[in-house]
Amino acid sequence: MALKTETMVLNMGPQHPSTHGVLRLELEIEGELIVNVKPHLGYLHRCFEKHAEAMQYNQVIPYTDRMDYLASMGNNFGYVLAVEKLLGIQVPERVEYIRVIMAELQRIASHCVALGTNGADIGALTPFLYLFRDREYILSIIEETCGARMLYNYMWVGGLSHDIHPNFVRRTKEFTSYFKNTIVELDNLLTYNKIFIERTANIGVLPAETAINYGATGPMLRGSGIKFDLRKDDTYSIYNRFDFDIPVGQGLQGTVGDSWDRYYVRVREMEQSLRIIEQAIDQIPEGDVHSAIPKRIKPPKGTVYSRVENPRGELGYFIISDGNTNPFRVKVRAPSFVNLEILGELCKGHLIADVIAILGSIDIVLGEVDR
């Protein structure tokens, strides 16, 4: 037992089937146990912040799409809210409702990928296929309205690029009633699958204290049992009008804050998103979505920090304006960037195979980590 052996360094990524993009991990292992994890980022550093300084305010929006490319609507939402705050614009009711519905649809689509790949990494490929099928459904609804499948450039400062398609309301309603079935299926197929539970329960436990100190947000923080959701706690847009719950990890299959809890929170969050959509879809008021779009965006000097609840957590935009048509500085507080920082802490003492399960449950998008 007292035999001390040298630790070994194992490289994982950037080309690796289950690193969710181009992340490189340097694993220091002792036998099968992880001693230390050193993430190396920057393999997808696309200079967003530099671009934002060279663009006009409305031209930045297509670039925000490309950060968290699984939740482009959320990214647009955060950015336009920040600029609107700086400009002091009030957007029409109709725009607010459509934005919320779009953001929630996108949240479901994003969680579909997150859950699907989390399962697929561990070895359950079937849910991946089913969830991608349903994601296509959402994408086709959104595509009908704004013309693109993934990177929408849909929300503009003060409004939207297009009004919703005439079919939108009907198809969204169809989708919400259809998707409930999928969640039940997913629960049976993966959530309560014994093998999946064995792989994720009690793995990568994140205590609440650590989570807050590390700045974790989103399902990561809620998985640790803290009821914190910006939609409720620091409410923005019109989220205070809707009735929804914040699912938190309860440790149903293991300890509170393990990988399974984070997975579980995402599943339950999809249900809550459906609830929001169902409430909002019937209330969309009539109106013009272009009426509040300013001709020329030239905010006064000042700074703004605005944050929204993206599928991955708190997405913050810190914008400094020097009174020009271009932003002086845009800093993005990306949720994945902060959440990924905890990986080293979570993996310590686990087996190599668990790194994948933990990484899948953190649900990072490298476009956002590296920007």
Partner: protein
């Protein structure tokens, strides 16, 4: 729940000289300026004081203020001399639900700011990023390396500075279009 003015009063009473001023003119939140080499004392106070309880650091951003003089260097490129680099700290209390923005400014040529990594763990990567992008050195940071740019990127070349010049080649690959 406290407003920024109240927080500023508490800080001023408790810590005195370290807290420089409060800027209320911004359209959104007021910004409290702090001495750069004492920021860790302020942060520890903000986190541990029972009236404030700022337990989470939302965002830490390095900014090139570009308020110095523009001069031509010997190759004819514009470089900025003098002025300051700043770091903004956006804090939030998950218990009391109030926010505050802190700001520190350090001279551009030798920007040194005390690290707050031992107060909020998440500052670790944010500070590395600020070092990488802007070139602010964080004193007492455990592992101040580049984070997004390659480790062998040119010394003293920090992309988000306003006078950053894109190098022609990196490891034999042409960078400009």
């Amino acid at each position: 729940m406290k407003t920024a003015e109240e927080i500023f009063e508490i800080l001023k009473n408790e810590l005195g000289e370290i807290i420089l001023s409060i800027d209320k003119d911004t359209p959104t939140e007021p910004i409290i300026s702090v001495e750069p080499l004492k920021i860790h004392i302020v942060s520890k106070f903000l986190r541990d004081n029972s009236e404030l309880q700022f337990d989470s650091l939302m965002c830490l951003s390095g900014v090139d203020d570009a308020n110095g003089k523009k001069v031509k260097d010997n190759e004819g490129y514009d470089v900025i001399e003098g002025g300051t680099l700043s770091v903004y700290y956006h804090l939030y209390s998950t218990v009391l639900k109030h926010k505050i923005t802190l700001k520190v400014s350090a001279p551009r040529e030798d920007a040194k700011v005390e690290s707050v990594e031992n107060v909020w763990k998440c500052a670790d990567w944010h500070e590395r990023e600020a070092y990488d992008m802007i070139g602010i050195k964080f004193l007492n940071h455990p592992d101040l390396r580049r984070i997004l740019m390659p480790y062998d990127w040119e010394e003293n070349s920090h992309p988000l500075r306003k006078d950053f010049k894109v190098p022609e080649f990196y490891q034999g690959m042409k960078i400009p279009y």
